[in-house]
């Protein structure tokens, strides 16, 4: 039997694997978080990103949020309006629609199921 030719397993490749996995996870959860932030009140791009704190990290550009907001708006989950400011440029405020709240509630349920599953499979 010939020896298997698996790629080398070293700490560096583990780090890279984890980094990519975390990035995918954070990207996947971004929709949920954006809807959750907007469920607490309307917000605009910069403030929304600030509400997420360090969640985006250094490997996800802040600009990533804008195509996502545009998509959520197209899907009818959120809506937007321009607000003229007394000083500074106009801001585009986003708010969650009733359909968005329903989707958010369903996502919370799914997340709870995943959480329970994780607890179950990670308990020896």
């Amino acid at each position: 039997m010939s020896p298997s030719s698996n790629p080398p397993s070293d700490p560096e490749s583990h780090d890279l694997f984890l980094k990519r996995w975390q990035l995918q996870l954070r990207k996947g959860l971004l929709v949920y978080l954006v809807l959750a932030v907007l469920s607490e009140g309307e917000s605009y791009g910069y403030r929304l990103i600030s509400s997420l704190g360090d969640y985006l990290g250094s490997d996800m550009a802040e600009g990533t949020i804008y195509p996502l907001l545009s998509r959520l708006q197209r899907q009818g989950l959120i809506e937007s309006r321009w607000q003229i400011m007394d000083s500074g440029p106009a801001r585009k405020y986003y708010s969650i629609k009733p359909g968005g709240r329903e989707v958010l509630a369903a996502m919370k349920d799914r997340w709870e199921q995943i959480h329970q599953l994780l607890k179950r499979v990670s308990t020896p």
């Binding site: 605009y44 791009g45 910069y46 550009a61 802040e62 600009g63 990533t64 804008y66 195509p67 545009s70 998509r71 708006q73 197209r74 321009w82 500074g88 440029p89 106009a90 801001r91 585009k92």
Partner: protein, 197 residues
């Protein structure tokens, strides 16, 4: 359509702002004036607010920090543009917007294909130079930048006595140097293309 730079005191900051929005503008070319203005206004509002919260000794430092956090326009504007085109395709001007989206995607696809072909050709040239530089010490009389008796000049292998070798052993350092430079440069280009995705 350009977005006027805020009143920066440093020329470098004004230039940086203009370059950034010129790129945003170029990426929004498929959009209507209203859609384009929406994106530009939102990017402008974000950058200005981010600028206020940026730390740095000079305007240009703060502006660059804000731009780095927001990301290169190539990293987020294309997705935004595609979505704007789709958004407006639903209610009113459907066919026109869908046609714009198709054209925009086709243009991006073709430019990606051309870039990939150019990169592939670049790697082929780097490999060829590496092989020629490696073969020169083994076949010193036959390998080089050669002009044959027929007046044909090329880099390669020739089995003939009627020829002129223009580089001699210089082919070895030049071939290896150019080959490694090309691999480094193409690697950077591949990284850039991947980030744009």
């Amino acid at each position: 359509m350009t977005v006027a730079a805020p009143e920066f005191l440093e020329k470098e900051a004004v230039q940086s702002w203009r370059d950034y929005f010129a790129r945003v503008d170029a990426l929004c070319s498929a959009l209507t004036a209203r859609q384009k203005r929406d994106i530009q206004m939102e990017v402008k509002a974000h950058l200005l607010e981010s600028l206020v919260h940026s730390s740095g000794a000079s305007e240009i430092d703060r502006l660059r920090a804000a731009m780095v956090r927001l990301g290169s326009p190539d990293a987020f504007v294309p997705g935004w543009v595609a979505d704007s085109l789709l958004s407006d395709s639903i209610p009113g001007e459907g066919i026109r917007s869908l046609w714009q989206l198709l054209k925009w995607n086709a243009r991006r696809g073709i430019s990606r294909l051309l870039a990939s072909l150019a990169l592939g050709f670049g790697y082929f040239v780097a490999f060829y130079l590496f092989v020629m530089a490696s073969l020169k010490p083994i076949f010193p009389e036959n390998v080089g930048l050669i002009t044959t008796g027929d007046g044909l000049t090329f880099l390669g292998y020739v089995d003939s006595t009627e020829m002129v070798d223009h580089l001699g052993y210089w082919l070895v350092p030049l071939g290896f140097g150019l080959s490694f430079f090309l691999i480094w440069f193409l690697g950077r280009m591949v990284g850039r293309l991947s980030r744009e995705d």
